[in-house]
């Protein structure tokens, strides 16, 4: 999967008196995701992570830019081909309590993607569903049960199994473990890593939890207000963050070692309104290294050594 300068803008308002606004939910994001790799998209709420997920799964067309799957542009190909490309990308949602239909059994949840796409007959679909249940660690006698009979971790297993029924190559996981307890989170992360190795899956892993990202990702893309601020390999980004926002994120994540209790000062302020973004760098209002240039001129998305970064002062800070 490859994204080239993806943009998604939403018009808002425009009532009798209100002026029309334009929310740039995603503004110029590019990445390449290869088989068997994990790209983690990191950022706070409202930074456009979920909009990116919806575009990556072809649920929404980009306003501008192009998304390529298997090297084929998704916006210009004919509908049957587009449909076929779409099957390669499946999604796991954040909240396993809301994303499974409570009126369907586990069996029918898992068989539905096959049935919708006319794969196999009834008995073949059941065999496939039962085999997938084995893969993700659900017991065979749970085939006829309903989602409310499962715990959060097991429901997320069902959601992962459903996403894998059509043998996708890319799985878009939108905060898959943030609703789970620590011990259950570990089980689901292990499962996701096992499945990735087994099926050579590519993950577009959307998360705000940097300790999870550090475990599972190979590359990290940090977003702020719909714009990319830093993109590089996990090792580089965690070891030497170049963008002040990445540093702030790393510093704000609590560490589990009480001896390394951080003395850093918390970043002030909150996210600027997406309706009325500042003219310069979006992070300027909260940045500890801000200069006059930052508030006036938008920093370019440029290559700096081993990574991409959008900051005027990335070399010096």
């Amino acid at each position: 999967m490859e994204a080239q300068d993806l943009r998604r803008h939403y018009p808002v308002g425009g009532g009798m008196f209100a002026a029309k606004g334009l929310v740039k939910a995603i503004d110029g994001i590019s990445f390449v995701l290869r088989d068997g790799e994990t790209l983690a998209v990191v950022g706070e709420s409202g930074c456009g992570k979920s909009t990116l997920a919806r575009m990556a799964t072809l649920m929404e067309p980009p306003t501008a830019g192009e998304l390529l799957i298997d090297g084929k542009p998704t916006s210009t190909v004919a509908e049957p081909e587009r449909r076929r490309l779409r099957l390669n990308v499946q999604m796991v949602f954040q909240n396993p309590y809301g994303s499974l239909n409570p009126r369907k059994t586990v069996g029918s949840i898992l068989e539905e993607p096959l049935a919708l796409n006319g794969r196999g007959d009834k008995s073949a679909r059941e065999r496939a569903a039962r085999a997938m249940m084995d893969r993700v660690g659900l017991r065979q006698d749970q085939y006829g049960r309903y989602p409310h009979m499962f715990s959060g971790g097991q429901r997320q297993r069902i959601a992962i199994a459903r996403a894998l029924m059509l043998n996708p190559r890319v799985v878009v996981a939108d905060e898959p473990v943030s609703a789970l307890d620590v011990s259950i989170q570990a089980q689901v992360l292990n499962l996701m890593m096992d499945l990735q190795d087994e099926f050579r899956l590519a993950y577009l892993f959307i998360s705000h939890d940097l300790s999870v990202v550090r475990l599972i990702a190979r590359e990290v893309l940090v977003l702020y207000c719909g714009r990319p601020v830093e993109h590089g390999s996990k090792e580089n980004v965690f070891a030497t963050p170049r963008h002040p926002y990445t540093r702030v994120l790393l510093a704000a994540t609590p560490s589990v070692d009480p001896r390394h209790r951080k003395q850093t000062v918390a970043v002030k302020g909150e996210l600027p309104s997406p309706l009325n973004p500042p003219p310069g760098c979006a992070f300027a209002s909260r940045c500890p290294h801000v200069t006059g240039r930052c508030t006036a001129e938008r920093p370019e998305w440029r290559k700096l050594g081993d990574r991409m970064v959008a900051c005027h002062h990335a070399e010096t800070v």
Binding site: E44, S45, S151, G153, D181, V182, S183, I184, Q185, A186, Q187, L189, N190, M193, D194, H208, D209, L210, S211, V212, R214, L215, I216, V248, L249, A251, A252, T253, P254, S255, V256, D257, P258, R259, R261, K262, A266, V267, K268, E270
Partner: protein, 326 residues
């Protein structure tokens, strides 16, 4: 004398399938100027235990305890009227999910003022002034212009600040914060935690922080109590707990943190699930998931043992030096 002292706290709920003990035999002590973290997974009873201390458990719940003292007063034998004079004034609570805990029908300034008026904390003509001062203390910019805002007009972080302002409005001696940062982003979480710890230091309050996030514990707590399935399984000073946990559950929980994993290794997990209402095991409640369990663990419920301040509810607590059970 401790600020808050609870011994043998039990909270039972009458359910269609019989009595369920959500909290069983929990001891909590908090001193002034102390930060205590109560940590555990969802459903372990950590919130219910503190709601019981606040007197906020209603029918069909039933609270029993050997002792429950706060300051000089015995919370078990207070009348409702006397309790209302303590709760919200000397002992205040910040609830989870600020956006749904605030009343959507009233402006935030009015809601903070309500606490001041109820407890006659300041003369009536000074209430407005005091509310502005409180909003300023919790770091809300331009506080005077925010008094008329409704909760839906503020962000989650701002709403949590309003909740904190409300809780500290009457200068409490003890502040209980129930998952104060769970719904917030990391940068905002850091701001709120810093704010709570600063207020605690400035005012010499006792602070009880209920959380499931081990990172939050490590960054803020002086002392930690770990809960599992309604029981307190371990208490220790923070450094000791992270360096040498004594209960196998605490050790397993710490091992399963992604931050402690090396490279892209598989995380050690705790098999099975927290026992629910129907499948409580005999003996130690953790024994079906414990790697060290033997026949005694399966038969006899362990008591809290060990030196004061380092107690663990285990027949074979982990020894610091060897890292294995004796």
């Amino acid at each position: 004398m401790h600020l808050l002292e609870i011994r043998g706290l039990a909270v039972e709920f009458a359910t269609a399938r019989g009595r369920f003990r959500a909290v069983d035999g929990v001891d909590v002590t908090v001193d002034a100027r102390e930060v205590l973290c109560i940590v555990g997974e969802s459903g372990c009873g950590k919130s219910v235990a503190m709601l019981a201390a606040m007197g906020l458990i209603d029918w069909p719940g039933r609270v029993t305890a050997e002792t429950m003292r706060f300051g000089g007063s015995d919370l078990l034998h207070l009348s409702a009227r006397q309790r209302r004079q303590v709760v919200g004034k000397d002992m205040a609570m910040v609830f989870q999910e600020p956006t749904s805990s605030l009343n959507p029908c009233y402006p935030v300034g009015w809601q903070i003022a309500e606490a001041l008026r109820t407890h006659h904390a300041v003369p009536r003509n000074k209430v407005r002034e005091r509310v502005v001062e409180l909003l300023d203390q919790v770091g809300i910019p331009a506080p005077a212009s925010r008094l008329g805002d409704f909760p839906h007009q503020l962000s989650g972080g701002m709403n949590q600040r309003v909740m904190i302002a409300m809780a500290i409005s009457c200068n409490p001696k003890l502040l209980i914060a129930d998952e104060p940062t769970t719904a917030l982003d990391v940068t905002i979480q850091k701001q709120i935690l810093d704010l709570l710890v600063d207020l605690q230091r400035q005012r010499g309050m006792g602070l009880v922080l209920i959380t499931h996030d081990m990172g939050v514990v490590a960054e803020t707590a002086h002392r930690v109590q770990v809960m599992y399935a309604g029981q307190m399984v371990e208490e220790q000073a923070t450094d000791g707990l992270f360096a040498a946990p004594r209960h196998p559950y605490t050790a397993a929980l710490l091992d399963s943190l992604p931050e402690r994993a090396l490279g892209r290794a598989r995380l050690p997990t705790i098999p099975g699930m927290v026992p629910g209402i129907d499948d409580r095991p005999q003996g130690c409640l953790f024994n079906p998931r414990c790697g060290y369990a033997d026949d005694i663990c399966r038969m006899v419920p362990p008591a809290l043992t060990g030196p004061p301040g380092r107690r663990a509810r285990c027949h074979y607590p982990i020894m610091a030096a060897s890292g294995a059970t004796p």
